[in-house]
Symmetry: C2
Subunit: 361 residues, 2 copies
C-alpha cells in the first residue's frame, strides 16, 4: 500500500500564503497537454496500448532532473480515498477518480511539478506557484516539458502545433489559471459584469474545482480559453494582465465595502470567525463560505490574528479525503462534519495562541 | 434630573445566579395588590385624587424600616428612557411607561422590595429573590405589607378579602411567579403539553415581560392564576410544588437531549457562544435566543467558562434602555445593536479571562 503519510502531514509549500497578492490570489497553475505521436489518443486505446504509453512516458519522466526526488503513483494500485486525496490537492483530475487502470501520477517532492499519464491526453504536466505568479508556475512546468521532449516523440504539426485529444487544447496545449478570491466583487454585485467581460475577452472563469463545479465561497478559477495561434508566453502575459486588472477591481470593491458598510462587514466577518472558532459540526459548503468571509476580514485588516497560510491550509485540509487521511479512517458525512469543525478550531486557535505569545514577548 | 448612575453600574443582587436551581429558575417574584378604602380605583380617579393617594401612601411607605434606605421616583419627573430602564429591571410595569402623572416608585437599596403607587391598583408591592425561592420573595414583600397596613386604611371585605381593580386579583391580591428557562422542554417539543397542563391546573405561563409578551429565548414566567379563596401561603406552596415538578421535567429533557443528541447540542450551544463572542451587531431577539442556547450549554456542562451570573446580567443589560443608560446617550436601533454586541463580547471575554487566570494559579 502506498504511504501518503508525509503528504498528509503538510500542505504543498506553494500554499504558505507568502506569494505575490496572496490575499486575493491563492495560487497560480499552468498545465501543458502533450501526446505521443506513435499512439492513438487515450480514449481510443485498449489496455495494452495504455500500458505501453505509461511505461514509455514514465521511464523518460523518472530520469529527468525535475523528478530527481519524486513519487510515482499507479492510480490502479491505490484506494478511492487516496485518489480523492490527490484530486483535492489538484495533483490529479477528477477523471482519474473513476478511470484508474494504466493511469499514473508522478509528482516531485515539493509538489510544485507533476505529470499525469493517460488522462484525456497521454501527458498532462502541471506547474504550481503560490499567490499570483504565473511565470514561476510556467517556468516549473516548462522545465519538465523540456526535459521530457528529447526522450519522447511528441505529436506536433507545423500548422497546428501540438495535437491534443480535445480541439480546445490544440496548439500550445496550455492552460494557465489562477485561483482567485473575489468576495468584494460578489458583495458589490459587480461580479456578473466581470464574468461577462472576461468571457468576451476569451477568458474562462469557473468554480473551485474546474469545469462544471459550483462557485462556492467566492473562489474562482480564472484561465485562458484560447490555446491555438498564440505563444505560451503571450498566454501567460495576457492572463497576467487580466488578473492584475481583476485584482485591482477586487481591491477597489473591498475598499468601497470597508468605507461604506464597515459595520455590516465587521459583523459579517467576525460572525464567520466566531462560528469557525466554536462550531462542532461544519459541512464543506458552509466551511468554504465561512473561510471566505474570514479571508475577506483578514484582507481588509479587520481580523488580525489569522494568517493567510492557515486559511489556505483550511481550504485543503477540510476536504473530505484530507480529513479522513489525516485521521487514518473512513468516515461518514456526519463524522466528517465534526472532524472538519475540530480541525478548523485547532487551526484557528493555534493562530490566536501564537499571536498572544508574540504580544507577550 | 434623577440620577440612576449607581443602579446602572450594577444589577440587583438577586441576579447573581447563586439562588437555588439558578440554572433553570432565574428569579422568584411575589407581587401584592392593595387599595386604599377611602379612594376610588385608579382608573376612576382625577389627577387630584391620584395626587392624594400618592402623598398618603408615600408618606407611610417612606417611614417604614423596609425603606430605611430607598429611592423615591416620581414617574412624571423622569425621562421616558428612565422609565423604560425601570421597567426592564422589573421594578415598574409597562403601564407606568405611558401613564406617569401622579405615579411613583419606591424601591429599597438592594432592589429586592419595591412599591408602585397608582398603577392598576393604588399599591402594588413586589418582593424579589434570586433563583427558585418564592418564600424569600414572599417574606420580603410581606414585611413591606405588614409595615404599610397599620398606617393605611386598606380596602378589605370579610367575604371577598382585599378588593382590587381587576377581579382576577381579588382576595389575596397576590401573584407569585418565577422566571424559568425551559430550553430542554422546547427542544424536545414537550413544552406545549406542559403549557396545557399548567393552564388546566390554574397556573398561568407567559413570555419574559408579562401578559401578551412574546416567548423569546425559551424564557417563561410561571405564576398562580387564582387569588381568591386561598391563603397566601397556599399560593406559594402550590406554585412551589408546581415549579419543582417543572424543574424536574426540564432536567429530564436536558438529560435526554444530552444523551441522545449530544453532538447536535454541542454544535448548537458552541455556535451560539461563538456568535456572542464575536458578532458586532446583535438585535434583542437574537441576543435572547443565543443567550438561551449558551445558558443551556452551561446548564448541561458543555460550556465551562461562563457563569450564570454573567448570563443573568446579559439578559438585563442588553435591553435597549440599559444599553443607552450605560453609555449615557440615546441611540437608534442600529447603534444599539452594535452596543449590545460590544457589551456581550466584553462580558463573555471577562469570564474566559478569569477562567484562564484561575487555571494558571
Amino acid at each position: 500500500m502506498f504511504d501518503f503519510g508525509d503528504m498528509v502531514a503538510r500542505p504543498a509549500g506553494w500554499l504558505d500564503g507568502d506569494g505575490r497578492d496572496g490575499e486575493v490570489v491563492l495560487s497560480s497553475r499552468v498545465r501543458i497537454a502533450r501526446n505521443l505521436d506513435e499512439h492513438r489518443f487515450t480514449h481510443n486505446c485498449d489496455n495494452e496500448e495504455l500500458s505501453d504509453i505509461l511505461r514509455e512516458s514514465a521511464d523518460v519522466a523518472r530520469d529527468t532532473s525535475v523528478f530527481a526526488r519524486h513519487r510515482f503513483v499507479r492510480m490502479g494500485e491505490i484506494s478511492t480515498l487516496d485518489r480523492q486525496f490527490l484530486a483535492e490537492r489538484h495533483l490529479v483530475s477528477r477523471e482519474f477518480l473513476f478511470n484508474s487502470a494504466n493511469r499514473a501520477l508522478i509528482v516531485n517532492e515539493e509538489e510544485d511539478v507533476c505529470l499525469m499519464i493517460n488522462e484525456e491526453d497521454h501527458l498532462r504536466m502541471q506547474g504550481f506557484a503560490g499567490g499570483f505568479n504565473l511565470k514561476k508556475a510556467h517556468g516549473r512546468v516548462r522545465l519538465l516539458e523540456e526535459a521530457l521532449a528529447p526522450g519522447l516523440e511528441l505529436a506536433y504539426r507545423d500548422r497546428l502545433g501540438y495535437l491534443t485529444s480535445c480541439p480546445t487544447n490544440l496548439g500550445t496545449g496550455m492552460r494557465a489559471s489562477v485561483l482567485i478570491h473575489l468576495p468584494g466583487m460578489v458583495h458589490s454585485k459587480e461580479i456578473n459584469k466581470l464574468l461577462d467581460s472576461l468571457r468576451k475577452l476569451n477568458h474562462s472563469i469557473r468554480g473551485l474545482y474546474g469545469e462544471g463545479s459550483e462557485v462556492m465561497g467566492n473562489f474562482f478559477q480564472l484561465s485562458n480559453s484560447i490555446t491555438l495561434g498564440v505563444s505560451s508566453e503571450s498566454i501567460i502575459r495576457n492572463l497576467s494582465e487580466m488578473v492584475t486588472k481583476v485584482i485591482s477591481f477586487e481591491e477597489r470593491s473591498r475598499e468601497m465595502l470597508f468605507r461604506k458598510a464597515r459595520s455590516l462587514l465587521e459583523d459579517k466577518v467576525w460572525r464567520a470567525y466566531g462560528l469557525l472558532r466554536y462550531a462542532h459540526s461544519v459541512n464543506t459548503k458552509e466551511a468554504l463560505s465561512l473561510i471566505s468571509a474570514v479571508r475577506l476580514g483578514v484582507g481588509v485588516e479587520i481580523i488580525p490574528d489569522v494568517s493567510i497560510s492557515s486559511l489556505n491550509r483550511l481550504l485543503i485540509y477540510t476536504q473530505p479525503a484530507h480529513l479522513q487521511m489525516r485521521l487514518g479512517k473512513s468516515m461518514a458525512t456526519e463524522e466528517r462534519d465534526a472532524a472538519r469543525a475540530d480541525y478548523i478550531r485547532e487551526t484557528l486557535s493555534r493562530d490566536t495562541d501564537q499571536e498572544n505569545l508574540q504580544e507577550e514577548e
